[in-house]
Symmetry: C2
Subunit: 201 residues, 2 copies
Amino acid sequence: MRRFSTFALMHPEFIAYIKRQANLTDDEIKLVCSKGVERTIPRKQLLLQQGEICRHKVFVSKGCFSTFRTKEDGVKHIIDFSAEDSWIVDPESYNHGTPTAYSIEALEESVIIQWTKNDFNDLFAQIPQIKAYSEKLVSEKLLTIRQRLYSAISSTAEEKYDEFIKTYPAVFARVPLHMVASYLGVSRETLSRIRQAQVRR
Amino acid sequence: MRRFSTFALMHPEFIAYIKRQANLTDDEIKLVCSKGVERTIPRKQLLLQQGEICRHKVFVSKGCFSTFRTKEDGVKHIIDFSAEDSWIVDPESYNHGTPTAYSIEALEESVIIQWTKNDFNDLFAQIPQIKAYSEKLVSEKLLTIRQRLYSAISSTAEEKYDEFIKTYPAVFARVPLHMVASYLGVSRETLSRIRQAQVRR
């Protein structure tokens, strides 16, 4: 655990983010930060592996992660990308202490801040704003996934691709095409064809 | 608003459900029930229409609803079915007071109990267990949609169909095939072909 002054110096982005988003006082921010532990995750390293139990809430301070699941046939399916200023948690595994069905991988060298479940629950009890903020995050996540589900069942491959570029321009620029195809649930060949057609226009 | 005694007589299922799920005392259940209003929704009638604001939390006491969105080309896409003992709300519209992108239709004559947002917020303030229960529902919904999204991007049409029958046997028996196709995001022709092949086996 780091002392606050060091932490604040190292994570001005997190301090600015949490202050803005959760409307916390300086003392509350100090308390949140005092429980956070920083880790650097090398590219291609797993933050969480299918079968493990998710024991932390994670904030992405720098870098980008994919959350994926490997089907019985060995094919990886990416259900989420998480870049700077987003939170990563496997809600089912974290809430129930059960093995996760998903893996989370760093797509580039990344810096995270993580909190144990115990520490985060203490923060919930001590700072009602953090609880409210966390509920807001869950409810926003629900809307995002619902929109993505609607898109998955209603859109053509080209519409899905266009929506992805529009919604996640920062992620799009950093992620190889086969991962975008996996995320959209379309084949790599289909995606290449769409891109080539768009370039020709 | 009905008197509790009448309500309890008419909705023994709801009383049993909420007692079991939210772990409420009899006084708390009375309070919850005193704010609920019963409505019968005829088959094919809309409970909520795209463009309206969702102003109620709704419990399905009897019947079945579909939540769908109509794309610009006029095609309906069903993102959810809700049968007995489930809650219906458009979270985005309800939370933010914005027009909903979805419509909700009764697939058969249905009976609901509804609460206004004000009344439900009062219940939250007065009964902490209801707040905890509601958070649990949101978090379960998140898991369900996440699973459905994974299935949408990773499964074949036949796998999606089999999963649907397994997960929602009660809904499956009551819903016409073209709605199942819409829900799964596969064409009606594909679904008919899968069913015929399964029958032949």
